[in-house]
Every structure is written in C-alpha cells, then in structure tokens.
C-alpha cells in the first residue's frame, strides 16, 4: 500500500556533467568524487521532510533542464558588470561569471603581506596548505543533497586568507554574476574564508542576476574564524526573478572571535538560505541578521542554526521580512545551547510585515537548550500596518500611500543600519526605498467569509 512518489532525480542526473571539470587538483577531484557518491545516496527533499515542509521545490524541478554553463552562450555587456563594482574594493575584487572565475574583471592588488585572495581552484592546483587544511571541513549539512551537489562540482571559487594580526582595510568584494543565456544553467559557487588569529576583515558576497532568466545556483560558503578574529560578512542576493538560489553559509567561530553577518534577500523566484554558526569555543560573539523584501510569486526561506557549543557566548539574530503580492516567506531559526554551555546570551527575533492579502508567512523560532544558566529571548511577529501609526502620519498631512511607504521603509531600515561599507549601505537604502515606493497601495481587505 505504499504510495511512494518517485524520487526527483534532477540533481543526480546532473552529475553526468562532472566530466566537464578540469582535473588539475587531486584535492578537488577527491572531494568531487566523494560528494558525488553522497548525492547519489541522499534523497531529494520533499515537503514531507520537516525542513522542507513549507517550501516546495517545484520551481527547481519543473521547467527546462539545466546544463553547466557554456561560456559561449552567455550574453552580457562588459560595462554592465562594472556598474556593480564599488570604489571601496578597487583592488580586492573577485568576479565570477556563471560560476567561472574571471581574470579579466577581478582585481587583486596591494594586499597586506601574507594575505591571499583569489580563485580557489588555482590555489588548490598549487597544493595550497590552507586550502588543503580547511576546504570542505565546515560545511556540515547532514543529509543535505544541495551541499553535496556543490561539492560534486567543486572547481572555481573564492579563497580568502587573512594572516594573523592583519587587518585588510578594503572590503573583499565577491561578485557572482549570472548572465542571460539560451539555456537554463546551474552553478555551484564555493567560498572559503580563513581568518587567522586577531585578524580583521569584511567580505561582501553578492549574487547578481543580470537578466530575468532561469538558473540554479547553490553557493556554499565556509568561514573559519580563529581566536580573536573579526569578520563582517555581507551577503546580498539580487538574483534574477526566475532563479533558484539555495545557499549554505557556515561559520566556525573560535574563542574571542566576532562574526557578524547580514543577509539581504531581494531576488530569485525561490531562495533558500541555511546560515549556520558554530561557536566552537568560549566567549564568542556573533550576529546573523537578515532582511527579506519579496513580492510577486517569490519564495524566500531561511533556516538558520545558531549552535552554542561552549559557554559565554553572545549571539544576535534579527530577521525581518516584508511580503507583498503572493510572496511567501519562511523562517525557521534554531538556537542550540549544548550541555555545559553556560552563560549564553542569545537574542532572536523574526518580524514580518505583510503588505498584501495573498502574501504568506510561516515562522518558527526554535530553542533547544541543554544548559541552565542562559538567557535566550526569541519571538516572532506577523503584522500588517497598524491603524494608530497610519493615522498618526496621515494626521500630519501624509497620504495613505506615503504613510505606508514610510512605515515599510522604516521597518526594513533597522537591519541595514549597521552596514558600514558606504557604497553597499547606499545601495541597500536605495533598494529599500525602491521596494517601499512600489508597494504603497492599500492592502485589499480580506473578503468576509
């Protein structure tokens, strides 16, 4: 009486394209082989899996087949790319076009001694010790076919190493461009950031869809922060409105280190983001804030894990979503406090501003605490505009539209206030302004049942 549905084999089928990759590094080759095996042995998720209950992968599984990117088929105008460069990162810029490293547009120069920034595949081919030691060590997403899928195609990617006691002043700007193309393509960007003891750096990871075509990108980001390291990680997802973006950013943070990440989700038809921060030692401090602005038929799903394995950690997560049209936002935030991890101070809040009748929100903050001396506050709210707030602004002469625009803008602003890279801050202000302006109509009243 089994009514088992046939498993979707889309990712398994794509493994045939592994032969397209170059074989210059035995390390990468080994990871690819092992990962491919895991892809074969891991079931593709369905909405019957707890972690995928609210997010249907139809936009990925239905539609044209994916091919690896053939460079010839990609169409873009070089000046288009340059618009996205920022002056702060003139000499600290890595550019990828449909997953391929671009020597032409990347620019790395004037780095402090010992600092390494460049193409992961090249470092791996040179048997770089840091890559050997750290690559694929942190992305522990058990039974996650997407992480394995990324590993199976490990090739070009970003590699950042900041030596001990070094501060890299310029933010390191990693631009992943996705171009228009005749055929839907898939890419598996990988980023490795190793921040040595007491170093300080900022990494901007951007995903930019240049057109409105369909593609699949599965970024895996691994960050290792050694003792006392300080890393700011800005993630800006501006994928095409038909893209499928499934990302796994993971940070392992050691004693006295500080990791701050801000993820801004604007694009993609379907995005799924699973940030995971693991406090491997005592006295760490980390932030995993997020802002999601979606409309139309977009789905944005964040499943985060804040894993406190040792005592005396401070952690912060403010995840804000604005939803319009028929868009759907999902949040599942797990806070783990392991046995003996006392004196944890953890804050988590998911706030949703629902602008339309047909928008949809699922939210579930989740605490799993196995220590007794901890302070964990968590909560979730879903709300529309408050009458009192609207009336206050209207009584000052603002139209209903303007009032809603300002409230939306103000709501979203809080999550980007702490972003210190000026170009990026300005860019996000504009995005927030644009979004708020285009969604100021009065929500239709729910029909009375």
């Amino acid at each position: 009486m089994s009514n088992a549905v046939k498993e979707n084999t889309i990712l398994k089928d794509l493994l045939t394209y592994q032969t397209h990759l170059n074989g210059q590094s035995s390390l990468l080759e080994k990871i690819r082989k092992e990962s491919a095996e895991k892809v074969k042995n891991t079931p593709f998720p369905t909405t019957r899996d707890e972690d995928w209950r609210f997010t249907n992968l139809k936009p990925l599984t239905r539609g044209g087949d994916f091919v690896p990117d053939q460079e010839e088929s990609s169409e873009y105008d070089p000046s288009e790319l340059e618009e996205y460069f920022i002056p702060e990162s003139e000499n600290t810029r890595l550019v990828f076009i449909n997953g391929r490293f671009s020597t032409e547009y990347s620019s790395i120069d004037d780095l402090p001694e010992g600092t390494l920034i460049g193409n992961l595949a090249e470092f791996a081919a040179e048997d770089n010790k840091i890559v050997e030691e750290h690559l694929n060590q942190y992305a522990e997403y058990e039974e996650d076919i997407f992480t394995y899928f990324n590993g199976a195609f490990l090739d070009d990617g970003s590699m950042v190493y900041i030596p001990q006691d070094t501060k890299v002043e310029s933010p390191i700007h990693i631009l992943n461009f996705y171009t228009n193309s005749d055929q839907d393509f898939f890419t598996n960007p990988r980023t490795l950031v190793v921040a040595d003891k007491f170093s300080k750096s900022t990494v901007i990871e951007e995903h930019i869809g240049l057109s409105d075509n369909r593609y699949l990108t599965v970024p895996v980001v691994e960050l290792k922060l050694f003792e006392g390291a300080n890393v700011k990680h800005l993630r800006i997802q501006r994928d095409s409105r038909q893209a499928i973006h499934i990302s796994r950013p993971v940070a392992h943070v050691a004693q006295h280190s500080k990791y701050e990440s801000y993820t801004i989700t604007l694009g993609a038809r379907l995005s799924r983001n699973d940030p995971k921060i693991v406090a491997t030692d005592e006295e760490v401090d980390f932030t995993v804030d997020g802002l999601v602005l979606i409309d139309g038929d977009q789905i944005a799903d964040t499943h985060s894990v804040m894993d406190h394995r040792q005592a005396h950690a401070t952690s912060h997560q403010l995840h804000k979503c604005v939803i319009n049209g028929e868009a759907h936002s999902v949040f599942n935030g797990k806070i783990f406090v392991r046995q003996g991890a006392q004196k944890i101070d953890s804050f988590q809040e998911n706030r949703n501003l629902l602008l339309s009748r047909d928008g949809h929100v699922n939210t579930k903050p989740q605490l799993e605490i196995f220590a007794d001396d901890v302070v964990c506050t968590h909560g979730a709210t879903i709300g529309s505009f408050e009458d009192e707030e609207l009336f206050y602004l209207k009584s000052r002469g603002l139209s209903g539209e303007k009032a809603r625009e300002l409230i939306t803008y103000g709501f979203a602003l809080e999550t980007i206030e702490n972003i210190e890279v000026d170009s990026i801050h300005q860019l996000l202000l504009k995005e927030v302004e644009r979004y708020s302006k285009s969604h100021r109509d009065e929500p239709e009243a729910k029909p009375v049942a």
Partner: protein
Amino acid sequence: MLEIKNLHAVVAEEGNEILKGVDLTINKGEIHAIMGPNGSGKSTLSKVVAGHPAYEVTEGEVIYEGEDLLELEPDERAHKGIFLAFQYPVEVPGVTNSRLLREAYNTIAKEQGREELDPLQFEDYVKEKLELVNMKPELLERSVNAGFSGGEKKRNEIFQMAVLNPRLSFLDETDSGLDIDALKTVANGINSLAGEDKAIVLVTHYQRILEYVDPDAVHVMMDGKIAKSGDKQLAFKLEEEGYDWLEKEVQVNAQ
C-alpha cells in the same frame, strides 16, 4: 471657525457610543480648554475631529470654515490646517523626525499653494522652531518618538505643531507629565503659535497650564457630552473640588 453640533460617535468595531451629543463652537483667535474625568471622551472628541478611522459618527455635524469636515480624510484635514497633538504620540521606527516633518511640511505647503522647501531651506526653517520649544537638535535625526522620554514626546508634538503651523490645533494632554520648566517651555510655544486667525483647544486635567496660557473658555466633558462651560474660574473650582458637585448638578438637570 469650528462648529460641532450634536455630535454622536461610536467605536466603529463594536458600536459602543462614546460621544453622546457634543456641542462646541470655537471662533478664530480663541483658546479653549476641555477638562473632564478619565474616560469622558476628550481624546475621542479630538480624534474624531482629526478623522480617526476607529470611530464612526452616527449623528450630528462638524463644520470647519463652512465645510463639512466629516467628509474629509485625516490627511485632507491636515492640509486644511487641522492638527492633533496626541495624548500618546506614536513611535515610527526607522523614520527620522526630520524626514517625517519635511515630507509633512511640503505636502501641506503644496496643497495650500505655498512654496515647498528643499532640504537646506528646511534645515534653516526648522532651526528656529527647535529653539521655540527648546528641543535638542539631535532629536531631529532620531526615529520619530522612538525611545523618547515622556517629556520629549510631548515637546516633539509641539515642535511638530510649530513646524506645520496649523490653524486649528487640538492638544491632547500635552501638559501631562511635564516638569515645571518643560511646562513653561511648552506653554510659551503654545502662546507664540496662537494668533488672530488661529484657534487652540487644550485638553487637560490641570489648571496649572492655564496659569501660562489664558483660555477664553473652559468646558467640562462628562460621559460623552459637554456638561458645563465657563471661564478660567471653572478650572480652579474643578481642581479644588473635583467633579462630584458637577456630576450631581448634571443629574439634577437631567431629572
């Protein structure tokens, strides 16, 4: 300027009647005070005049400068010069005071056919107004009322009034919770914003503000109606003797 006749209003959601036949006439150049016990409908009256959607007017009329005010949206009323200083000013996170005020000022100016101000001009304009209410300039760049102290919120309402320069203002308990210095500052602000072609209605529980702002009339609201009107002496009597005597008087009159 404003004529309220037999105004009845209910809570739109559940139909509970709060205003039960208010009559009140306010002429240009006048300052009126409205007093009355908690829950008698003072704030509701102010909000109905400003157009709060939570209340539905079931009877009566509100005529402002010959025009039916009840037909207008709250923002249209503001464009015509009506202002409400809230008893509980609302926090608007992420929107700075200066942004709100510039937006508000320019919208109203445009509607009234006056010139809009660019950010620099507006900065100059606002500077004098800050001094008028003795408000710290930092508060301009803070989110509207967010994290403001009680006194700062009240001062901010008067500051907004100063910037928008309304013709008819309802100040709902703007004097509550102010220390003596703040009270004087706020009173000074009010006096300098009063004028021949303007009118101000002070909703208050205390006569102490009336020592600095001289009212032309004092009204007492009870159970959704104006129960008694008089001059400043009425305020003194109420402060000394409470509302009991008036309640009795109202009951006797009713019989």
